[in-house]
Symmetry: C2
Amino acid sequence: MKLGLNLSFAIKRWIGGENMARIISEELGYDRVQFTWDLVDPSWPADTRDRIAGDYAQSFRKAGIAIESSFGGLASYTYNHFLAPTRDLRDLGKLHLRNAIDMTAAMEVKAAGMPLGSYSAADALDRQRREEIYREALEAIVELSRHAKSRGLETLLIEPVPLSTEFPSSAEDALRLMRDLDGATDIPVRLLVDWGHAMFPALFGDDANMDHWQKTCGEFIHSYHIQQTDGLLDRHWNFTRKGIVTPELLAEFWNRHGLTDQTYFLEIIYPFEQPDDEVLSDMKNATRLLRAVQ
Amino acid sequence: MKLGLNLSFAIKRWIGGENMARIISEELGYDRVQFTWDLVDPSWPADTRDRIAGDYAQSFRKAGIAIESSFGGLASYTYNHFLAPTRDLRDLGKLHLRNAIDMTAAMEVKAAGMPLGSYSAADALDRQRREEIYREALEAIVELSRHAKSRGLETLLIEPVPLSTEFPSSAEDALRLMRDLDGATDIPVRLLVDWGHAMFPALFGDDANMDHWQKTCGEFIHSYHIQQTDGLLDRHWNFTRKGIVTPELLAEFWNRHGLTDQTYFLEIIYPFEQPDDEVLSDMKNATRLLRAVQ
């Protein structure tokens, strides 16, 4: 299986291109990463933002590390974006992804993505409002795909999340989004599916397994987030912990479906108050467990 | 004890002034809140940002809800800000608080605050670097206090956090910061102390209790965050859960120290995937428990 590293584990700890490249390459031994917007906020003034993001990109390249995509993290996930209840807020969601596309282009990275957004509590229960806002979101993504193409990007990614108040959450939602966008966008929009979001029985019942996702919308899956979870909440634990996702399950799935290109990005979110040395050592141990089953 | 409500519990769920005012006032019965930047990102373009923030402020006032301060939340806490390893990043921290001050002024709210920031893993272990960066942070806060005064603010707030890689974390750190700023700023800079951050034995040992904080830097404490925790991580659970902070302890502390003005802001952070109705019902139950001991 093709392993990559989402950089969420590192936020606030290992800062700056050279420093981070050393951690990724020498300490953890990865040559493929997904850059998180939690390291560089897309809303920072463009000149400074692109200088900081460019430093990561150049250092990574120098160290032989490919940046496959850039992706929204914790800070991005805090706001409602494309599914917000007001026009003002939805426009800000659009601006957010537009800024992220520009930053991604400045890094000479070819793909960028995020979850689509969150309905308000009230809108989530109103079928007609959901539908109207969803239609607007489609238009916004189509428009942004044009911008992304003009900036040299080749793919946009949307991540389903385990909440009925957001969209897409189920595999069926995700398929609908893909079909609604297919052929309408200037560059392909594809799915990034998180194993911990998919294996969420409280929301998906018997369909809370990756085979269901693969069967339903597998042709649109561009890459995966992998994380350990107990299926009760969206844990983003590492594989040093026991849970319902095992390295063996990941490898068996990869092999049985004959996957080749769809990177498994290890996306671990540590509590901020966990000491840096514990985080690094835990990342090493988990990486060892994942490599043992390849 | 004087209870207030930090709005972190509501993010992505109850959006917009009128909607949120109804939840705060009618559903939960609070008349005093701390507004979180997780509802309005200070980095949004100023016109739109101030229109959205202003809508909250006007609706709250109409409903008789006082906004005592605005404060950084999850998204803000994702970045290194004033203690970042590079000048670029530290300047962005300064811009972040400056934007938040402008937004707070547009809401006609008199106080704003956040944690100061985070050192990188490397800087955190280097006493000299820590000191140099800390000195710069002091200058930045002094400069921002001038800006805040010019915009009509009366207080800036800094929140200590339970991490040795950030500053201030201990009560002694917090006292040092207060003394270093005292008299140098154009408006007072004060502490907002979180009970769950203070009661963190892994870092503070025997001093992990609020009496120690009160004794050490109590004269500078402007307000508190209250949350339930097990003392192992920074949980931000609600008081419907068992833990080391009890409503009785909060009330006993308030009465014994003869507190009068320093609002206890209930700051609860729910997993995003927790259903909205569960969150609201949990907030009601916890509020009932807190009011029972007043």
